[in-house]
C-alpha cells in the first residue's frame, strides 16, 4: 500500500509517500510559504528517487497546496497514493484513537478545532479538501494525543473543582504521542521483547518541544505535557512547570491580558528566557563547554534543563516500576550525548548504568548506550514522524493485528 503522509505547518505542508509495510520512501517534499504572498515566492521542493525538483507555484491556502502536490505525484503512475495519513495535533477526548475519515469524522474535527487553534485548523481544512477531491481515497487522521488517551484517571485529572473541569474539558491530554509510540515500538523490536510486556520511559527531546512518556505494557500511562504543550519540562521557549501563583501574578501585571502572558510563557521563556542567548540548548551547551569563563547564567540554564529531565525520569521510572529501557529521541535526544549522560549518570539506584564510551560513539542510530550489566537499557532511536503516521494509517486500514511488521 502506498501511503501519502501529510504534516501541516502553519505556512508549510510536508509530505512523504511511503510504500507500506516495507517503509520504503518513494517520494517526499515540502510546500513552503503556503498562505498570503510573501517577499519570496511560494514553491514546492519535491524529491523522488535520486531526483530533486523545485516548482514555483502560488499556494494561497493549504487546499491549493494539496492540489499542487497531488498533481506532482499523480503525474507519475508509480507514485499514485493508495491511502492518505494526516497528522493532527489535538484529538481532545472525542478521539481516543486515530480515525478513518468520513463525513462524521470531519464534522468532529471541525468541532474541536479550537483545542489547538494554530495547528488543527489548517490540517482539518486539508482533510476536507482531500475528501472532496478524492472521495474514494481512504484517509486516516493520526493524533498526537491518541497514544495518551487511555492514561488512568488519577494521571489525567487535575485537582480542580470537578464541575469546572468537565465544563471546560480541562484534563491532561499529553502530546508527541505519535513519536513516543513509534520509538517504543522500535525499542521493543530492537530488544526483541513483546510490545505488550514492554515497559519504558521515552524521552522526546526536540529543539522546540520536549516531553517524557511513561510506558507500561507498550501503552502510555503518563506524559509530562498536560492540558497544553506548556506543562512539564523546560523547553526551548516554554517555561514548563510553574507555580500557578506566578502565572496569576503575571496576569495581574498584564492587567488581565491573558494573551500576552500566554505569549510570554510559551515563546519567551524556557532555554531562551533563562539563557538570554539562544533557544537551542546545544548552543548553550557548546558555549559552556568551550568557554571556561562562561557566564553563570548559561551554566545554570544547562543545569536546570538537565535537572528537570532527570527528575521526571526518576518520577516515571518509579511510576513504571520495572523499566526495560529508557529511550532518547528527536533532535536533542538523538544528537546530544552530553544531555543523555547528564540525565542518566548517577541513576544506578534505578538499575540504570550508562556507558560513557558507547554514548559518545553513538552517531549511527539506533544505538544502545547502556553498560552490558545495566538492567535498564538506554536507547537512542531516531524518530520518524512520517513513518509513524504511515504505520498507524496502514494498520488502521489493513486491520493488522499489531502495528509491527518485519521489514525487508
Amino acid at each position: 500500500m502506498k501511503v501519502l503522509v501529510f504534516n501541516c505547518g502553519s505556512s508549510s505542508l510536508k509530505y512523504k509517500l511511503l510504500e507500506m509495510p516495507s517503509a520504503r520512501m518513494l517520494a517526499g517534499g515540502e510546500a513552503q510559504r503556503v498562505g498570503p504572498p510573501t517577499a519570496q515566492p511560494a514553491c514546492i521542493y519535491h524529491r523522488t528517487n535520486g531526483d530533486q525538483q523545485q516548482h514555483q507555484v502560488d499556494m494561497p491556502n493549504h487546499a491549493v497546496a494539496f492540489q499542487e502536490v497531488m498533481k506532482l505525484l499523480t503525474s507519475d503512475t508509480r507514485l499514485a497514493p493508495d491511502a492518505v495519513g494526516h497528522r493532527m495535533v489535538h484529538g481532545g477526548t472525542r478521539f481516543a484513537d486515530h480515525a478513518i475519515v468520513d463525513e462524521a469524522v470531519i464534522g468532529e474535527l471541525e468541532a474541536i478545532q479550537d483545542l489547538a487553534p494554530l495547528h488543527n485548523p489548517p490540517a482539518t481544512a486539508l482533510v476536507r479538501a482531500c475528501q472532496s477531491r478524492y472521495p474514494h481515497l481512504p484517509q486516516v487522521v493520526v493524533f498526537d494525543t491518541a497514544f495518551h488517551a487511555a492514561i488512568p484517571d488519577y494521571a489525567y485529572t487535575y485537582a480542580l473543582p470537578r464541575d469546572l473541569m468537565s465544563e471546560l474539558g480541562i484534563r491532561k491530554y499529553g502530546f508527541h504521542g505519535t513519536s513516543h509510540q513509534y520509538v517504543v515500538e522500535e525499542a521493543a523490536r530492537l530488544l526483541d521483547r513483546p510490545l505488550d510486556e514492554f515497559n519504558a520511559v521515552s524521552c522526546h527531546l526536540g529543539s522546540g518541544g520536549a516531553s517524557l512518556c511513561a510506558v507500561v505494557n507498550g501503552r502510555s500511562v503518563d506524559n509530562t505535557m498536560g492540558y497544553s504543550p506548556l506543562q512539564g519540562l523546560m523547553m526551548s521557549t516554554r517555561c514548563g512547570d510553574l507555580d500557578p501563583a506566578v502565572a496569576l501574578q503575571l496576569l495581574t501585571f498584564a492587567g488581565g491580558d491573558g494573551d500576552s502572558v500566554e505569549n510570554l510563557l510559551n515563546k519567551r521563556s524556557g532555554v531562551l528566557g533563562m539563557s538570554g542567548m539562544s533557544a537551542d540548548i546545544r548552543d548553550v551547551l557548546a558555549s559552556v563547554e568551550q568557554d571556561a569563563d562562561a557566564s553563570p547564567r548559561l551554566r545554570r540554564t544547562v543545569e536546570a534543563y538537565v535537572w528537570r529531565i532527570r527528575k521526571y525520569l526518576g518520577s516515571y521510572l518509579a511510576t513504571v516500576g520495572s523499566a526495560d529501557a529508557i529511550i532518547f529521541t528527536d533532535t536533542i535526544g538523538e544528537t546530544s550525548p552530553q544531555v543523555r549522560w547528564a540525565v542518566c549518570a548517577g541513576m544506578e539506584v534505578f538499575g540504570v548504568s550508562i556507558d560513557p564510551a558507547r554514548n559518545i560513539a553513538a552517531t549511527h542510530l539506533p544505538a544502545d548506550v547502556a553498560r552490558d550489566d545495566s538492567k535498564v537499557r538506554i536507547l537512542a532511536i531516531q524518530t520518524n514522524e512520517e513513518l509513524a503516521i504511515a504505520r498507524r494509517t496502514f494498520s488502521m486500514l489493513s486491520g493488522a493485528a499489531g502495528p509491527l511488521q518485519k521489514e525487508h
Binding site: 485537582a159 480542580l160 471546560l168 506548556l230 506566578v246 521563556s269 518509579a318 539506584v349 534505578f350
Partner: protein
C-alpha cells in the same frame, strides 16, 4: 530559659510556653479569635499582656525569657531562626511583597512583642529557612530574569521546620547505627498542603513547594501542580480576573474540589468510600512521582521519614511508598529505613530559638 512560642494563624494566635528543661509545654492553646496576621497593635498588646500574666503565674516559673515567633516566609535573607534586630525588621519590611499576606502582620506582632516583653530576645523562626540553600537548578524557574519585575522569584519549601527536624532525627539514628554515612532521605510532610523534600545528609536538594505554597502536591483546598495554561484558559473562557482564579485554585480545589466536600488526608486514607477513590489515587500518584524525582535527585535512598499532623494517613502512606519504590540498583544495601516524626512545631521552634540565642551569646562573648 523559659520560652514562649507564638504561632499566628488567620484568626487565632497559637501559643506554647516551655519551661527550663521541660520537653512538653507548661501552657498551650490559642488566644481569642479576631486575632490574625492583620490584627492591629492595640488588640495584640492586650492579648500578649494577658498571656504574659498567665505564663508568669504557672507554678514555679515566672519570667518569659525568650519569645519565638513561627512564621511562614523569610525569603532568601533568612537561612535559619534569627534574633530580631532593627536590621531584621527593616529587611522583613523590604521583602513584604514576597509574602504580602504574612510579613506585614509579622512586623506588627514583633512590635507588640517588643513592647510587652522588653529587653527579652525575640527570635523569628521561618518555615522557608531550611530551603534557602536549594541549588539554583532546583530553585529557579525557566523564566527570563526580569519576567515578574523582581529578581527574587524562586522556589522554597514551606514546611522547613518539620523537614529539618525530621531529617536531623534521621541523621542521629543513622549515625548511631552506621557512623560516617550521610543518609539520603525523602521527607514527606503530611499537612493540609503536603510537601515532599529530598535531603542529602542535612541539606535539601529538591522540594515540591514553589514560589508560594500553591505549587506541588494538591492540598485540602489547593490545586497543586497544574498546567500554567489552565490559568489563561480560565481567564479566557470564564472572563475571570486573577483574583477570582486565585480563589478557585487556592480555596475551592484540591481534595475539596475533587470530592465535593471538605476532606483531609486522614479521612482519605482511612475511609474506603468510593467518592474518595480518585482523590486518594491522585495523592498517591503525586507522592510517588515526587518520590521518584527525589530519588533521582539524591542518586539513591536510605530513609523515608513521615511527619505532619495527618499521622493516620502517614501510617498508610509511609509503608505504601517504601513498597512502591522499586529500586533495582540497591538490593545489597540495608532496606530503606522508614521513620515517623512526631515532634510538635512548638517544640521545634523553641529548640531553634534556644540555639539562636545561645549562638548569639557565644558570639558576643568571643
Amino acid at each position: 530559659m523559659n520560652i514562649l512560642v507564638l504561632n499566628p494563624g488567620r484568626r487565632i494566635l497559637g501559643y506554647a510556653f516551655f519551661g527550663q528543661g521541660g520537653r512538653h509545654p507548661l501552657l498551650e492553646g490559642t488566644c481569642n479569635p479576631s486575632c490574625g496576621p492583620q490584627t492591629d497593635v492595640r488588640s495584640l498588646l492586650t492579648i500578649l499582656r494577658d498571656l504574659r500574666q498567665r505564663c508568669a503565674s504557672t507554678a514555679g516559673h515566672h519570667t518569659t525569657d525568650v519569645v519565638a515567633i513561627r512564621t511562614l516566609y523569610g525569603g532568601s535573607a533568612f537561612g535559619k531562626a534569627t534574633l530580631v534586630t532593627e536590621q531584621v525588621v527593616a529587611t522583613l519590611g523590604a521583602i513584604a511583597p514576597e509574602a504580602p499576606l504574612h510579613l506585614p502582620g509579622l512586623l506588627v506582632l514583633i512590635e507588640a512583642c517588643q513592647e510587652i516583653f522588653p529587653n527579652r530576645p525575640l527570635v523569628a523562626a521561618f518555615e522557608t529557612a531550611f530551603f534557602v540553600p536549594l541549588p539554583p537548578r532546583e530553585h529557579l524557574y525557566a523564566l527570563a530574569a526580569d519576567t515578574t519585575g523582581s529578581s527574587s522569584l524562586r522556589r522554597y519549601g514551606f514546611h522547613g521546620l518539620l523537614h529539618e527536624a525530621a531529617c536531623a532525627h534521621v541523621l542521629r539514628l543513622t549515625r548511631a547505627s552506621r557512623p560516617g554515612t550521610l543518609p539520603r532521605t525523602l521527607s514527606l510532610c503530611l499537612e493540609p498542603r503536603p510537601e515532599l523534600a529530598a535531603v542529602a545528609g542535612g541539606r535539601p536538594i529538591m522540594v515540591t513547594g514553589g514560589a508560594t505554597p500553591l505549587e506541588g502536591i494538591p492540598g485540602q483546598t489547593s490545586c497543586g501542580q497544574i498546567d500554567p495554561a489552565i490559568v489563561m484558559a480560565l481567564a479566557q473562557e470564564k472572563g475571570w480576573g486573577p483574583e477570582q482564579i486565585d480563589a478557585v485554585l487556592t480555596r475551592q480545589s484540591g481534595l475539596l474540589g475533587l470530592t465535593g466536600q471538605p476532606t483531609d488526608l486522614d479521612m482519605l486514607f482511612t475511609d474506603n468510600r468510593e467518592e474518595y477513590r480518585l482523590a486518594r489515587q491522585m495523592i498517591e500518584y503525586h507522592i510517588l512521582r515526587a518520590a521518584g524525582a527525589g530519588v533521582a535527585a539524591l542518586g539513591g535512598l536510605d530513609a523515608i521519614i513521615v511527619s505532619g499532623r495527618f499521622t493516620q494517613a502517614g501510617r498508610v502512606l509511609g509503608p505504601w511508598l517504601r513498597e512502591q519504590l522499586h529500586l533495582p540498583g540497591r538490593p545489597q544495601l540495608p532496606a530503606v529505613r522508614l521513620e515517623f516524626y512526631t515532634e510538635t512545631i512548638g517544640r521545634i521552634v523553641a529548640d531553634q530559638a534556644l540555639a539562636a540565642v545561645r549562638n548569639t551569646a557565644r558570639r558576643s562573648v568571643a
